[in-house]
């Protein structure tokens, strides 16, 4: 899922300072699961914004709504009336959701209430970790299901480097060395011979280095 975290209340107030009526719009998908922008968080933040505005004597009306998915036109429609009656939208979707709303409702300012961080999973309660860099060419099959592009600080395809200590990464000892994990996993599944293959450099043009990416499925186009 996409993992995000909210901006601070002073930052949010600064973002919406030129508006008198705003819609705090939550999203029921990824950001709900990572406890950043779902119905509950939207309710808390809307309350917080109303209170902060009152304390600073800023005239601000805050309406709240959470739709199933902000990155999908079908669901965005559900927010049309609420968006119409407000001056601006403070979206608590991920970066894709914010832009989808902005593209659909071109006459309204749409702002991001969250900082979208990464694609990851819930590792333990209250802890999310990045697992995928969306690099465009998945190599997980070669590394026992552990991604060196995302989880090795040096993004090494032919690792490990010479500086890991025990099973810790030299860049940040709080992190496990991805290559130690890869070795252990490949050993466990009987595929250690994969480490003998020298991997050629990755085609970075399929990643974000070449600008934003699109995928076209002709079989689904109308």
């Amino acid at each position: 899922m996409i993992v995000a975290q909210r901006k601070s209340i002073p930052d949010l107030l600064e973002i919406v300072k030129n508006h008198k009526k705003i819609l705090v719009l939550g999203c029921g998908t990824c950001v709900t699961v990572c406890l950043a922008g779902g119905q509950r968080e939207v309710s808390i933040i809307a309350s917080a914004l109303r209170m902060a505005a009152k304390l600073k004597a800023i005239p601000l009306e805050v309406e709240e709504l959470t739709i199933e998915r902000q990155c999908d036109n079908v669901f965005i429609e559900q927010a049309a009336e609420a968006i119409e009656r407000n001056d601006a939208v403070l979206s608590f979707g991920c970066g894709a959701g914010v832009q989808a709303i902005a593209e659909r409702y071109t006459s309204k300012p749409v702002y991001a209430g969250l900082d979208t961080a990464f694609i990851g999973i819930l590792e333990e309660r209250g802890v999310w970790a990045e697992k995928c860099a969306a690099c465009g060419v998945c190599v997980l099959h070669q590394y026992g299901g552990i991604c060196p592009v995302t989880r090795c600080a040096k993004h090494m395809l032919n690792g490990p480097c010479s500086s890991s200590r025990e099973d810790r990464c030299e860049v940040n000892p709080a992190r496990q060395c991805a290559w130690q994990l890869i070795y252990k996993r490949l050993k466990e599944i009987g595929q250690l011979d994969r480490l003998k293959e020298i991997k050629p450099p990755k085609n970075r043009s399929l990643g974000q280095d070449d600008g934003y990416r699109t995928i076209v499925r002709e079989d689904h186009r109308i």
Partner: protein
């Protein structure tokens, strides 16, 4: 948050004793969320002392009474909720 938004001067959250929650760790989760809410109150610009969580059992009437008295005293010292004050002054201005 809703209580504060509606003008509460203070909020006291009372949970069961740690280890004695019917929902196993529900009161521990509640404590962490109360702490988060205290930080949020501070971000907004309100005194976080207006919110407190305590752990008491049904057999602790006297300690609970003392806790409530102490909470009331804390809130009294802090004064009325600034949210309530700002709302009423705005209503006065409208009149």
């Amino acid at each position: 948050m809703k209580a504060f938004e509606n003008g509460a001067d203070g909020v006291l959250v009372a949970g069961c004793l740690e280890g004695g929650c019917r929902f196993v760790e529900g009161n521990l989760c509640a404590k962490r969320r109360v702490n988060y809410t205290k930080d949020l109150l501070e971000e907004i610009g309100m005194e976080k002392e207006r919110l407190r969580m305590v752990n008491v059992s049904a057999a602790m009437a006297r300690p609970l009474a003392d806790i409530i008295i102490d909470m009331v005293e804390t809130v009294r010292k802090l004064g009325p909720s600034p949210i309530k004050l700002n709302s009423s002054s705005r209503q006065e201005n409208r009149k």
